[in-house]
Symmetry: C2
Subunit: 234 residues, 2 copies
Amino acid sequence: MLFRQLFDKETSTYTYLIADEKTKEAALVDPVIEQVDRDLKLIQELGLTLRYCLETHIHADHITGTGKLREITGCDGIVPENAQAVCANGFIKDGEVLKLGDVEILAIATLGHTDSHNSYLVNQNILLTGDSLFIRGCGRTDFQSGDPGLMYDRVTQKLFTLPDETLVYPGHDYRGHLVSTIGEEKQYNPRFVGKDRASFIEQMNNLNLPNPKKIAEAVPANQKCGNVAVMAEA
Amino acid sequence: MLFRQLFDKETSTYTYLIADEKTKEAALVDPVIEQVDRDLKLIQELGLTLRYCLETHIHADHITGTGKLREITGCDGIVPENAQAVCANGFIKDGEVLKLGDVEILAIATLGHTDSHNSYLVNQNILLTGDSLFIRGCGRTDFQSGDPGLMYDRVTQKLFTLPDETLVYPGHDYRGHLVSTIGEEKQYNPRFVGKDRASFIEQMNNLNLPNPKKIAEAVPANQKCGNVAVMAEA
C-alpha cells in the first residue's frame, strides 16, 4: 500500500492519499480545494488513478477539493451516511468497506463533531480519525449538530477499543504533531483521561471557542462537494 | 524503532524524534526552540530518555532547541564536522554512525547549503536530508558559504545513489509534503531533473530569494546551540 499524509498550512488540515501499489487505484481523504493542483500532480507522478474522494464529514473550516477533483478526474465523491451533501456519488456507512485493489478502507461512524462523521480504518492499522479524535485532543462539538455525549461514546467505545498500536492520523493538528497511536491517546489525551461521560460533556460545553473563520462559506459549499461554481449560481 | 516527524508551522521546519524501543534512548534531529516544551512532553509521555540533539547544520531560519533541551535533560548537542558551533558536545563526520540501542544513524556529509551539513540515514532506509534535498526542491546555496556545485555533487553522488525506495524526510517543506522517496526525487525533482552541474549552478545562482527573516539572530544563536541567555551576555 502507498500512504501519504499531506498538510494544508492555512487551515492545519491533513489530507491522506491511499493507493494500492498493484492496481494503482487511489483515494484522497479530505482534500482541500486550495491544494487540488498539488494533490493532482502527486497522483500523476506516482502513476495513480484517483477513484475516490472520501470525506470524513462536512467540514466547517475549509472547502473540500472533491468537486474540483471530480470534475478533472471523474472520481467519485463519497461521504458518510446521512451527510447533507446532495452532490455525493455515494454514501458509506458504519461497517462498510471501500476497496482499492487489496487495500481495505473500513468506515467507522464516529459521530459527535457533526451528526454524520466517519473515521476510516485502513488495512486494519491506520486510523484516519477526521475531526473525532485528535492527537491529545478532539474535534469541537458546539455547532453543526455536534453532540459531546455521542463524541464520548463513539471515541471510547469504537476507537479506544482498537489495538493500542493502531496508528492515529487526525484531520487536523494545530501543534505540529502528525501521528499518534490509540495506546498513547488512551493514556494521554487530556480531553478523555480521567473523565466520565458527564464531565466530558461539561468540558466540551464550556470550551467557548470562536467559530471557524470560513464556516459561513465552507458548510454550504461542502454540501455541494466544494463545487464553488454551482454555489455562485445558487 | 520509534520514529516521529514533528512540524513547526511558523518556519515550516521538520524535527525528527528517533528512539530505540528497547533501550528507550532517543535523539531529536533539528529541534526548534519554540517547540521545546512540546517535544519534551512527547519524549516524557513515550517514556524515552533524550541522549542527543543532532543538527543537520547551523540553521539560518530558526533558532535550535538544542541549548534549552541540553540544559533541561543533559543530552549531548552533536553537530556536523567543521560546524562553527563552539557549544557542541561532539562532532559527527561523513561515514560515522551514532547508535541509539540497535538504531543506527549514519552521517552523510551533504555540503552545499552550508559548508558543514550532514544528512542522516536511519537504519538504512529513512533519510533525513536537512536543507540539502527537499521534496521536489533543494536548500538554497546563496549564503553561509553555500556552494551550488558542491550541492549538486553531494546530492547526485551521495543521495541519488541510495536505493530508490529510501524514504526522504526533509528539513523543511513549504507546500505540505511530508515525505518522498529517492526514486521519486530522481525522477521528478525539478531542481535536478535534466540539469548538468553547470546548469544547476546557474539556476541556483539566479534564484534571487530574500534572506530568511531570522538570519541575523538565528545564525549567531545557533553557533551557541541556541543558548539565547549566553547570546544576550555576549
